[in-house]
Amino acid sequence: MHDFEYLRPETIEEAMRIYKNGGKEARLLAGGTELVNEMRFGKSRPEQVIDLKHIREMDFMELREDGLRLGALYRVRDAECSEPLRMSRFNVLSHAAGTLGSPQVRNKATIVGNVCRASPSADLIPPLIALGARAKIKGDGVEKVAAVQEMMLGPGKTILEPGEIVTELEIPNLPDYTGCSYCKLSPRKSLDLAVVGVAVMLQTDSNMSRCIDARIVLGAVGPTAIRARKAESLLRGRGLNEDMIEEAARTAVDESKPLDDVRGSAWYRKKMVEVAVRRTIANSLEQVRIGRR
């Protein structure tokens, strides 16, 4: 591993100042489960590593009337285990968090780190997109909000410029009769990357017979997480029966763009999109049902 300067700011302001000076040669470190590996295997060679972990003001999770706020240091394991989050409407995040890596990795990894790394197979990006999450971004004279979905430009690429830090994620409250779930298909039961990961948000009418709104997000089958918009519009305003769900799943397959790689052939991944979308819609409906009780 290359030598580098290690810096440990304690406030967002301080971090921004250091990052501004460091520019392109500086990298932010949260849990480090991505960055440290990149450095170890020579994929990144930063001159400066700015450790965010001591910025207390970014370590929080807040459930409010109008939604959910997650600080940039909120860990994947926190999300998995937090009782309030698990009991909330946003429990898809707890579930998806539980599918990421191993307990050791989850103890270190942050949710925001997962977003900023922008891996095509990231487990938290699809549910965050399905929930309509937005990131608060701060940089030198910049303060902006961007939808997680809009942040993604390609594998490992986001709209973030050097000097910009994501300070938190905010997720608007969900309407009643809404269910959200995530389904990850991977060869192993733990410590594995998704062959396909699908998140679905579904809003129904009060007796669950009609779909009012739907978001279907496909992970690991394209350069970034993909919204299956045709499948979504197929569901919107329609009755929710098995045929409908089947058709939506098949439509989502056409919207996916998987490649052949060592983790699976494109043929298999397409098949799995159908299976995962079907299962995730069913699970989301189940969430609505539970919420109704």
Partner: protein
């Protein structure tokens, strides 16, 4: 030689002495003894080669070929030499130009250079090595070595390699055939003519990586005394000693090999590796210690791996399920070099006849050179491939004949004292009882939910291979037992524990024979300068061969000790005395005894302090061609198949097996669970994905091993046997257990959802494709019916 069994078992009752009875008369054997080196390992205090540092030590790195086949035109090391911190660089020019191989009498089987001089033959072939002040610097230097290659067309598949005009991997091998083997008995053609039913099937057995926790690693230290000391993670310090000496032009006695605790082997650390050769070369140049540790990627791409095999099987049976004839044709992907691959080629042919009585049998195997990483020894050594194909086919045969899988196996099962014509004599064999036990288990599981299925597979395996590697006419083992004045015993053995529990097994055998406790024994292993020569850890030989040597050495020491005690206890002859649980006593009157410690003290002090030293040895001379004994078993695996995803979930596994007298039940369970994990990975997930000879997934993210949550509950159904050739009746429980699993799983998948996967691994994608095909085929007849009606 002393009759070491005299005090325990007489000739007459040996025959029917079962493991269970043996267990009752032992004080140490059969007890659940924690690993003697367990505390160090679980607390992280055991020092492995990778953990070690020596004063003044340098770090080495190896430059490897990026091409699967290329001529080396020029190697320019100037830029690298000028990098500050670089101390030495070696290339093929710095070697003696010899080629390494384990069959030193056959020049064409010695085909692997320390550092390639003219040609590279696979992606990963070593071309240069650097020693520098730290790893980063050495790594940086690699990038500064300029190698000019002339890239040659490569051949990456054995079938292509055998075609006329295919690129030649080695000039000497016509059509790239490295070795062929033939085994035959009976009259195969005639027998097929008499069969009621014949099946012909093709199978493919994929490769597998050893995936040791500790990657290959060596520290070599050559001193101004012109002697070389090597610390290395290996499976045989003796092989390393003689092969290193030969390749470096040193006397064997001037090479001392120390093997610290070793983090896994599984066959992968049996062949010599580039860390051993290159660190030695560099150290000899500098007279400083040089350490080379393979990265995980190097471990994947530049060692050896399980041999991929293309199988064609022809099986003939009578209506009642009696198997009359079998014909086996195998082409194996040899990779770039021979390694120990010739043995895999032989053993897969031999074990294809297991564990059944085939009156007529023919095997033809071809090992073919390819421009891929070499293939060689891996746990089971050709047998898991044989059992996957054979056990799949026998289920298909049973179905064709309308017989159930248990019955067909029972009808043809090997039995005690069976002779494999011209090949081997089976003495103890509990296979029929294992079949009964599994049948009961299946009944007990009752009716299964849909998409669940149980598959069975039977196996047999050698208990101590007899191979003439490195000019040794026979495998041998030796041991020394030294009794000290305080009663503590030093046991010296060249046996190798790579994590499988050999240390504990041998200490237990020593303690049992001497009538003392496990913690009275201090074990000395892993150093060629103090331990007797030993061929090491392979062929499931340790318990039987080293066990016999240790038992004999302990008996020798005991006899010497009892000679002193006889003056006091006055038996008729010394054999009327024995030691149990620290008491020296008359065999006929156990209540008359004296303390072991007192006897030891008197014996040594009264003899001018001379220690008591017992020597023991074992060789399977005239004990068959392959092994002096065989173990057997049957495994049943229940799976659940997700018909949407093709994923196979392991639900439950039961293994009925016999390994003679059980030395240490926890050791055995550990072996069984470990073997199942490894073999289930082989069956379902582990796959080295290659493109043009390059391994695409050389890491644990993409080369998938099963993890604890994926493992099913496992049940052991122990069947008692007693192996007359083994120490206290014991035989192997090491490799054999990896044999049945792939076949059992493939059979279970078939029983669950009706698709037969004949090429490994049984991946979700293959299952899904097969399910779709099956669906189409089931639809077709209906369509036809509609069309014609």
């Amino acid at each position: 030689m002393i009759d070491e069994d005299k005090t325990e078992i007489t000739e007459e009752d040996e025959g029917d002495l079962t493991g269970a009875l043996a267990h009752k008369i032992h004080t140490v054997l059969g007890k659940r003894i924690p690993a003697v080196d367990g505390a160090e390992k679980v607390t992280g205090t055991a020092i492995y080669t990778v953990d070690m540092t020596l004063p003044n030590m340098l770090h080495g790195k190896i430059l490897r070929s990026p091409h699967s086949h290329a001529r080396i035109i020029r190697i320019d090391t100037k830029r690298a030499e000028n990098l500050p911190g670089v101390k030495a660089i070696v290339t093929g020019k710095d070697t003696l130009g010899k080629k390494n191989g384990i069959w030193r009498r056959y020049a064409e089987l010695c085909d692997e250079e320390i550092l390639c001089r003219d040609k590279v033959r696979y992606v990963g072939d070593p071309v240069a090595a650097v020693a520098a002040i730290n790893e980063d610097c050495a790594e940086e230097a690699l990038a500064l070595i300029d190698v000019t290659y002339e890239v040659l067309p490569g051949v990456h598949d054995p079938m292509d390699a055998m075609r006329k005009g295919a690129p030649q991997v080695h000039n000497h091998a016509e059509r790239n055939v490295n070795i062929n083997r033939h085994i035959e008995w009976g009259d195969v053609d005639n027998a097929f003519a008499r069969c009621d039913h014949i099946r012909e099937d093709s199978f493919f057995c994929s490769s597998q990586h050893h995936a040791c926790m500790e990657t290959h690693a060596t520290i070599a230290s050559f001193g101004y005394d012109r002697k070389l000391t090597v610390w290395t993670s290996c499976q045989s310090q003796y092989y390393v000693q003689i092969l290193l000496a030969g390749m470096l032009g040193l006397r064997e006695g001037d090479v001392r090999v120390i093997r610290p605790p070793t983090g896994g082997g599984f066959g992968g650390k049996l062949s010599l590796d580039s860390t051993q050769f290159c660190s030695s070369l560099l150290s000899m140049k500098l007279c400083r210690p040089v350490k080379i540790v393979m990265t995980r990627e190097e471990d994947f791409i530049a060692t050896k791996r399980r041999t991929p095999m293309h199988y064609r099987l022809k099986l003939g049976a009578l209506k009642d399920g009696t198997l009359l004839a079998k014909e086996v044709k195998v082409v194996t992907e040899g990779g770039a070099y021979t390694g120990m691959g010739a043995t895999a080629l032989y053993l897969t042919g031999f074990f294809s006849s297991f564990p059944y009585k085939y009156p007529n049998y023919r095997y033809d195997g071809f090992r073919v050179y390819t421009n891929t990483e070499g293939t060689s020894a891996m746990r089971g050594f050709g047998a898991p491939q044989a059992m996957f194909c054979g056990e799949s086919q026998i289920d298909m045969m049973a179905e064709d004949l309308g017989i159930d899988p248990i019955t067909i196996r029972r009808r043809n099962s090997m039995t005690p004292n069976y002779t494999v014509p011209g090949q081997a004599i089976i003495r103890s064999c509990g296979l029929p009882e294992c079949i009964d036990a599994i049948e009961k288990y299946i009944k007990k599981r009752g009716p299964l939910p849909s998409n669940h299925g149980i598959g069975v597979a039977a196996y047999g395996f050698m208990s101590g291979g007899i191979f003439n590697w490195i000019d040794t006419p026979y495998a041998f083992a030796a041991a020394i037992v030294k009794i000290n004045v305080d009663g503590k015993v030093d046991l010296f053995t060249g046996a190798v524990d790579t994590g499988q529990g050999a240390n504990t097994t041998l200490v237990m055998i020593c303690a049992e024979e001497l009538g003392i406790h496990v913690d009275d024994v201090r074990l000395h292993v892993g150093d060629t300068s103090v331990c007797p020569v030993d061929l090491g850890n392979w062929g499931s030989r340790t318990t039987l061969m080293n066990g016999n040597a240790v038992k004999m050495a302990a008996a020798d020491a005991k006899r010497q000790l009892l000679a002193y005690a006889s003056a006091q206890l006055k038996p008729n002859i010394v054999y009327d005395l024995d030691i149990k649980d620290h008491r020296v006593h008359l065999v006929s009157r156990p209540e008359r005894g004296i303390s072991y410690f007192e006897v030891v003290k008197d014996a040594i002090r009264g003899n001018e302090g001379q220690v008591i030293i017992g020597r023991g040895h074992y060789t399977p001379h005239r004990k068959g061609m392959i092994s002096p004994a065989y173990s057997f078993g049957v495994q049943a695996v229940e799976v659940k198949v997700d018909t949407d995803t093709g994923k196979v979930e392991l639900v439950h596994v039961a293994t009925a097996h016999e390994s003679g007298t059980v030395v240490n039940p926890i050791g055995l369970e550990g072996q069984l669970e470990g073997a199942f994990h490894m073999a289930a990975g082989y069956a379902l997930m582990e796959e080295l994905k290659m493109k043009d000879g390059k391994i695409l997934n050389p890491n644990f993210r993409d080369y998938k091993l099963f993890l604890a949550p994926d493992m099913p509950e496992s049940e052991v159904l122990e069947v008692d046997t007693y192996e007359p050739e083994g120490p206290f009746g014991a035989k192997e429980a090491g490799e054999g257990l990896t044999n049945p699993t792939a076949g059992a799983i493939a059979n279970a998948v078939y029983n669950a959802v009706g698709v037969r996967i004949k090429d490994l691994p049984v991946s979700p994608e293959k299952v899904l494709r097969a399910l779709e095909e099956k669906c189409l085929q089931e639809e077709k007849p209906d369509d036809l019916y509609v069309a014609t009606s």
